[in-house]
């Protein structure tokens, strides 16, 4: 009887040892990075941004070229996710960007905040911008049968179904008053740099970028390793792309269902299912794409410099 117990005890001990080994084997097999797969660059969502929600337009952290240069190397800053309170505006923006009924979202925002509230206007701008592509394609005489554009156009048409056709007038640097071309003073440049650090508004960021560029507050030699210089008109178009990239990361709207991507692909043509960066690679030239990436990286670096 005791021998039998001894044998049973040995068997239990062996089983325990085996179980431990199996656990070790399993953990080694799956490795240390066995958690959820790291998000792709084009799938980085709001978690990737440590941008505060505040709109600090003060010139408190008056920037300078030196300050920018000291902002650190261009790496992919992936700060840990801050715990943010649910932000109704961000939720609405995300719903406009990737939801099936963006018009409804904008109307809900109008009801909640009023028609002229900056938040409503921002949502409206995003939808107008996307729906403008549908009008442009129609005016261009573009017809069905284009595998690179049809998928995006069809989806845009569905999303813009309940939305009034937007005006085609969208002011750019080329159409603005030449008075604005005068180099901004130091205070304006400092304010622009502060906005670039803290603002979440695409339009505001774009204006700030242009002011900072015109003022020479952003050292282009820090931006481009190949020595090129951007002109204001080039800078506007490329910065617009970089800001879209920044915003899509923040909103988790870089996928093929995003209005940003649909607009880009409906106009420029991309493989169906492209994400934002894949779309940029197809629609932009390598030189433009390099510039967009450089601007995007600079913006990230600048915005995280004091984080």
């Amino acid at each position: 009887m005791s021998a039998q117990r001894l044998a049973q005890g040995r068997a239990v001990a062996w089983s325990g040892l085996l179980l431990i080994l199996a656990i070790i084997a399993l953990s080694m097999t799956l490795g240390p990075g066995s958690g959820p797969r790291p998000p792709a660059a084009h799938q980085l969502d709001a978690n990737n941004s440590s941008d505060g929600a505040s709109h600090d337009t003060s010139a408190g952290s008056a920037g300078s070229t030196q300050a920018i240069a000291a902002a650190g190397p261009v790496t992919s800053p992936r700060p840990s996710a801050p715990v943010e309170a649910p932000d109704p505006f961000r939720q609405s923006l995300r719903a406009v960007l990737i939801g099936a009924e963006p018009a409804r979202e904008v109307l809900a925002a109008e009801a909640m905040w009023g028609e002229t509230d900056p938040r409503t206007l921002r949502l409206r701008d995003r939808l107008d911008e996307a729906c403008r592509a549908v009008v442009l394609l129609r005016l261009d005489g573009s017809t069905a049968g284009d595998p690179y554009r049809d998928w995006a156009r069809r989806e845009l048409e569905a999303r813009c179904r309940d939305w009034p056709e937007p005006s085609l007038y969208a002011p750019t640097e080329d159409t603005r008053s030449p008075v604005l071309d005068a180099a901004p003073d130091a205070a304006a440049a400092a304010q622009a740099l502060a906005l670039l650090r803290h603002s979440q508004d695409e339009g505001e960021l774009l204006k700030a970028w242009l002011v900072a560029m015109r003022a020479g507050a952003i050292a282009q030699e820090e931006l481009f390793v190949d020595g090129r210089r951007l002109l204001p008109t080039e800078s506007e178009e490329l910065a617009r792309h970089a800001l879209v990239w920044l915003q899509c990361q923040r909103q988790g709207a870089c996928g093929p269902d995003s209005l940003y991507v649909l607009r880009l692909c409906a106009l420029g043509g991309c493989r169906p299912g492209s994400h934002l960066l894949e779309a940029y690679e197809q629609v932009l030239s390598p030189r433009e794409f390099q510039a967009v990436r450089a601007i995007h990286d600079w913006l990230l670096r600048w915005r995280h410099a004091d984080a």
Binding site: I24, Q43, D146, L277, E278, Q282
Partner: protein, 318 residues
């Protein structure tokens, strides 16, 4: 009990070995988890348009009706083209446009339409230089600065009016336009228009003329449909590819695809280029990949079709 215990021990040993094997083997056989971010940042796959196709292969892309339009061109046309090519090449590489034009004024009587084309080309580029000179911010860009300086050197002393005094410039212009395939088709019939377009596509060195002819051929469905497969039916995409093909074919026929060519210098003054890159690479860096790839495929097809008859530059001098 002993045999049962031995069996149990064997089972345990086997399981232990399996566990150890799992530790060593599985990590080597599982697909390596890569961050998806690597995918979009890597360059889009380039098409395999690098190899030059044999002429038979190039012809095989044509339907019988298209092949008829692409029948060999007569020798007289090639003779005329050779002289055009040389004058164009002289201007493309001339350190002084004014001096080069002065040396080729005989074209004015010999072929006013071509003379106008040469003059117009130089005038457009030197006007562009003046316009760019009015934008001081360009000079701060090292990738534009070198090109602007080079343009200034080449354009020094050139004045359009010096070559047009007392001339019917409008008449020259009309003569030039009358040589375009669409104008020829209107005046002499469709077959003549097709023949002119094919002849231009085969032998012209002027990117503008090449582009107009390829556009005509495309609209008349005289280019192989297979060339457009990767591009799709969009008109704007096709126009972009045609422009790329025209630039590539022109520089290949010129025998100079580097940044010494006048048009390339002018383009670099406008958009900025890294002077260390050869022109085809430069073009690749300045264009969306699909446009470049389709343009390259069209250019290669066209060059192969042109080789079915001797190129003008390969012909002996008169």
């Amino acid at each position: 009990m002993a045999p049962r215990r031995r069996l149990r021990l064997r089972l345990l040993a086997a399981l232990l070995l399996i566990g150890l094997a799992a530790v060593w083997i599985l990590p080597r056989t599982l697909p390596i988890a890569r961050p998806e971010s690597a995918a979009p940042s890597s360059p889009a796959p380039r098409s395999s348009a690098a190899a030059v196709q044999p002429a038979a292969h190039a012809r095989a892309l044509l339907t019988p009706a298209q092949a008829q339009a692409w029948a060999p061109t007569d020798a007289a046309s090639m003779h005329a083209r050779r002289a055009e090519l040389e004058s164009y090449r002289e201007l493309a590489l001339a350190p002084s446009l004014q001096a080069a034009l002065a040396a080729m004024q005989d074209w004015r009587d010999r072929d006013p339409a071509w003379w106008y084309r040469l003059l117009d080309r130089v005038d457009a580029i030197c006007r562009q230089q003046l316009e760019l000179d009015g934008r001081p911010e360009l000079a701060q860009d090292p990738q534009r600065q070198w090109a602007l300086e080079e343009l200034r050197r080449r354009c020094a002393g050139f004045h359009f009016r010096d070559y047009t005094a007392g001339a019917d410039v409008h008449g020259w212009q009309l003569l030039d336009q009358a040589r375009r395939p669409a104008a020829v088709a209107r005046a002499e019939g469709e077959a003549a228009g097709h023949a002119r377009a094919v002849d231009n596509a085969r032998y012209s060195i002027d990117p503008e003329e090449l582009a107009a002819s390829l556009d005509y051929l495309d609209r008349q469905q005289l280019l192989p449909a297979a060339l457009w497969q990767q591009l799709g039916p969009s008109r704007s995409d096709r126009d972009a590819a045609i422009n790329v093909a025209s630039l590539l074919v022109s520089c290949q026929r010129l025998g100079h695809c580097d940044l010494s060519v006048l048009e390339h210098v002018a383009a670099c003054a406008e958009v900025g280029c890294n002077p260390a890159l050869p022109a085809p690479e430069l073009l690749r860096s300045l264009l969306p990949p699909r446009h470049y790839e389709s343009g390259l495929a069209l250019a290669q097809w066209l060059q192969t079709m042109s080789m079915t008859a001797p190129l003008p530059s390969a012909m002996p001098r008169d």
